[in-house]
Amino acid sequence: MTIKKSSSNILTYVVLGAGAILMLFPFVWMVLTAFKSNFEAMQIPPTILPSQWNLDAFKKAMDSLPFANLYINTALLIFFRIICAVVFSSMAGYGFAKLAFPGKNLLFGIVLIQMMLPSQIFIIPQYQMLASMGLTNTIFALVFPGLVSAFGTFFLRQAYLGIPDEISEAAYLDGCNTWQAFVKVMFPLTTAASAALAVFTAVFAYGDLMWPLIANTDLTMMTLASGLSTLNGQFTTNFPVLMAGSLLAMAPMLVLYMIFQRQFIEGVAMTGGK
């Protein structure tokens, strides 16, 4: 029995290990290529380690893309998207879960409709609104479609539905009004769900490509993802530069993931299904 069990464990390790190598290899190859010269990257057969670790590719990538701007724009986009999603979705989630008012089901229907439609169906009119306000190439433009979140509302409504009514009633008896009961008592009880929503929002905002590409066409107002796509067109054959750019674009999220991996995985798994 134990022999059988340990042999099946070994098989599990072998399969998981082989898969893990497949998952990690592209990242390793990106790093190794980024430190090679363009000449060395195109050698046949390829060298594994760079014969000389040089930073030329990073210099070239940073010369042709304003990475400082891209980092700041992406950070601001993520920051404002998270604030908007958590604040407005918490309010609405609480309202839909715990308060009674006429037309509630109809209004919740609007939330559900938005969730069911793919975002591309909104994108042309959203762009036209933005353009008519003269607000393209701004941080606001990046945040714009994510000012409110139907998914966040739906998700946090579930979280508030899980809190027993007695808790808010106790707060009312202590003299809280609805707003105070929400801010002081109910909202703190949903921190795990709010954190999950924040992680989900950050990962999505960071990876999104079509909207930033459309809304902000000035290189200095792009995000890491859309900036990287312009590098793609500029250096079609200089692979070390492309890999250096990819590495620079991935780095902040990779570092955050190393530190908060549990929160990332649990957060995204909790919000799964979207």
């Binding site: 399969v15 909104f122 990332f264």
Partner: protein, 292 residues
């Protein structure tokens, strides 16, 4: 007192949902209606629009490029969804085994989810490069992974499965971990082996999660854009053989400026997603088990 409380509640209800509802009306409901209107209009000079009825749809249905893009999107689904979901289920079962170092594996498999698809695509594009890419070097082949019309979509599918398998596995894993141990104990007492237990307990009990993952993957692959956009640039000779509906939508609306025609494409895509999802919801009755 009770009445006042209720009236109060009503006012607070509108205040709480107000910002979100207002935002959704402006950012989503109005644009949704406007896209339908645009799909029935032609773009004129100075940003004006003229009602043309179903002309855009007729042009669309007469376009081979459009049908090719529809076919590419469906084919991309066929290439990615069954294989991807199967591998994710396999991975979830392995990650559920009682072994050391599980969390390290979990972290590694989840990694592609946190990096931007644009960056992921760029790395794979380099690895799949026909002349200098590592994949051809390792295989000893000279396959034109990205520029051969008959291979390019397969290449994109490989990258897509690589990107999503860990995420799907984590979702399935949480479904598997929710299955009560007592089912397995009872089955063991009845003499059922691991393989029989897998098909009679694990699969039926995880089927609701499996269904969610399947629907999510189907929708995501039907509207795939960023991966193909980054892997297959617009000068690639295999563009029309890889171009998905959303890629065509992007090119028509924001590069060629045919917003009416592009709106028709996006409406068509929504209908396609709707039909595929509806088929899944009808089909689920045969295999998804909601009894707990």
């Amino acid at each position: 007192m009770k009445n006042k409380q209720r009236g109060n509640n009503m006012m607070w209800g509108y205040i709480m949902v107000g910002p979100t509802i207002l935002g959704l009306l402006i950012l989503n409901i109005y644009p949704f209606i406007d896209t339908i209107r645009l799909s029935l209009s032609a773009t004129k000079a100075f940003g004006a629009y003229e009602f043309v009825g179903l002309q855009n749809y007729m042009d669309m249905f007469a376009s081979t490029e459009f049908w090719k893009a529809t076919w590419n999107s469906i084919w991309f689904c066929v290439l990615t969804v069954p294989v991807g979901v199967f591998l994710a289920l396999l991975l979830a079962i392995l990650l559920n085994a009682n072994i050391k170092g599980k969390s390290i594996f979990r972290t590694i498999y989840f990694l592609p989810m946190v990096v931007a698809p644009a960056a992921v695509a760029m790395v794979w594009k380099w690895m799949f490069n026909a002349e200098f890419g590592i994949i051809n070097s390792l295989l000893g082949t000279r396959i034109k992974w990205i520029t051969d019309p008959s291979i390019v979509l397969f290449t994109c599918a490989v990258v897509s499965v690589w990107s999503s398998v860990g995420y799907d596995a984590i979702l399935l894993l949480s479904g598997i971990q929710n299955i009560s141990k007592s089912y397995y104990e009872a089955a063991s007492l009845d003499g059922a082996g691991p393989i029989k237990q897998f098909f009679t307990i694990t699969i039926p009990m995880v089927s609701p999660t499996l269904f969610v993952v399947l629907i999510m993957r189907l929708m995501a692959s039907l509207k795939v854009y960023d991966l193909i956009y980054m892997m297959v640039d617009q000068s690639n000779p295999a563009l029309t053989d890889a171009q998905s509906l959303m890629y065509l939508f992007y090119r028509e609306s924001f590069i060629a400026g045919n917003k009416g025609y592009a709106s028709a494409i996006v409406i068509w895509t929504v209908l396609l997603i709707g039909v595929v999802t509806a088929i899944q919801f009808i089909g689920q009755k045969k295999w998804v088990n909601y009894e707990v």
